[in-house]
Symmetry: C2
Subunit: 192 residues, 2 copies
């Protein structure tokens, strides 16, 4: 029991990892804990649109743990170019440490979920990655492109960065977003 | 697709509902979205200790949606006495509105999870309620009783409020907490 308690208090630190998006209507930045909650519910809500049959409980598990490595590394804007291999290695070291706090069987199960998400090979991982990519786009679309404008991210970079994964994991979601992103471009909601 | 988007943006408001606990090390109060994320992971980590065999995916689903009614009502300290019937009715109206944004089948599934949690009759709901009750206790135990002291909550009120549900849903967790709560009493971490 103490191992589980040590783990749950360690992951409390994800509440302090801030992202680049402000939740619409709030002055502060979103943190990775509440982001993880929201995409778990987005995945459940979109499950019938997944690109292939999925085990939804594994998708939800992946989304709940996928950002825990940021406890040691911090969040990186999805549009940063380069440095991703080093970053992934650092996140992997972090989650190995954090899941290592748990009894071995449970820690191994979480690590397997984290790796499955990272490798993007199973239908579940592809769907989970699509949902993770789509959520900040949806928030930006409801926030007049706040983080795109603040960080100088162009329409072309957004499409290049998110379209492949969203199409692969949840084609109907991409069909929806493609239209909305074009509208946002016409509204001037992107950076230069 | 637009219905799912309307839902996911509506529930974004849970990030603005603050609780009485400060995440250890942070100056701000916890919000109900990140709380929901954390207890979903606590439930997965504790599943082998549940008081009865459970369908874990239903537990996780319940925990992810159980606080959504607070979008209209705000959070209420667990130790407030009285007014719970009115409050529950208001939360029920809120989740009926919010889940009503979704396609009918998905909205009904979420509402069923919310009601199952609220009724505390199934093994899954009892385990989920135990986890929900235990998390603020664990945070207070790592935070020198911050919300107990700030809100004048005594040792006796904590035990009276949480022991029955935690024992019923996760007996081993109560065995652990009973010892830690007694230690906290001796440290003076409670209100008068």
């Amino acid at each position: 029991m103490q191992q589980v308690v040590d783990f749950i208090l360690e992951i409390d630190k994800l509440k302090a990892v801030t992202r680049k998006i402000r939740p619409p209507g709030l002055d502060r930045y979103e943190n990775s804990a509440e982001h993880s909650w929201q995409i778990a519910l987005l995945a459940i809500s979109l499950a019938s649109h997944a690109g292939a049959p999925i085990d939804l409980s594994r998708v939800v598990g992946m989304l709940l743990v996928h950002d825990l490595g940021e406890i040691d590394t911090g969040d990186t804007l999805a549009f940063v170019e380069g440095g991703w291999d080093e970053r992934k290695a650092a996140e992997r070291a972090a989650v190995t440490r954090i899941f290592g706090l748990l009894p071995e069987e449970q820690g191994a199960a979480f690590l397997a979920l984290w790796q499955e998400f990272d490798q993007e090979e199973t239908p579940e991982a592809r769907f989970a990655n699509a949902v993770d990519r789509a959520m900040p786009v949806l928030l930006n679309l409801s926030n007049q492109g706040q983080s795109w404008r603040e960080n100088g991210v162009s329409y072309e970079r957004v499409v290049r960065r998110v379209s492949g994964q969203i199409k692969a994991g949840c084609p109907a979601l991409w069909d929806y977003l493609a239209v909305r992103l074009e509208e946002a471009r016409q509204q001037g909601w992107f950076g230069a």
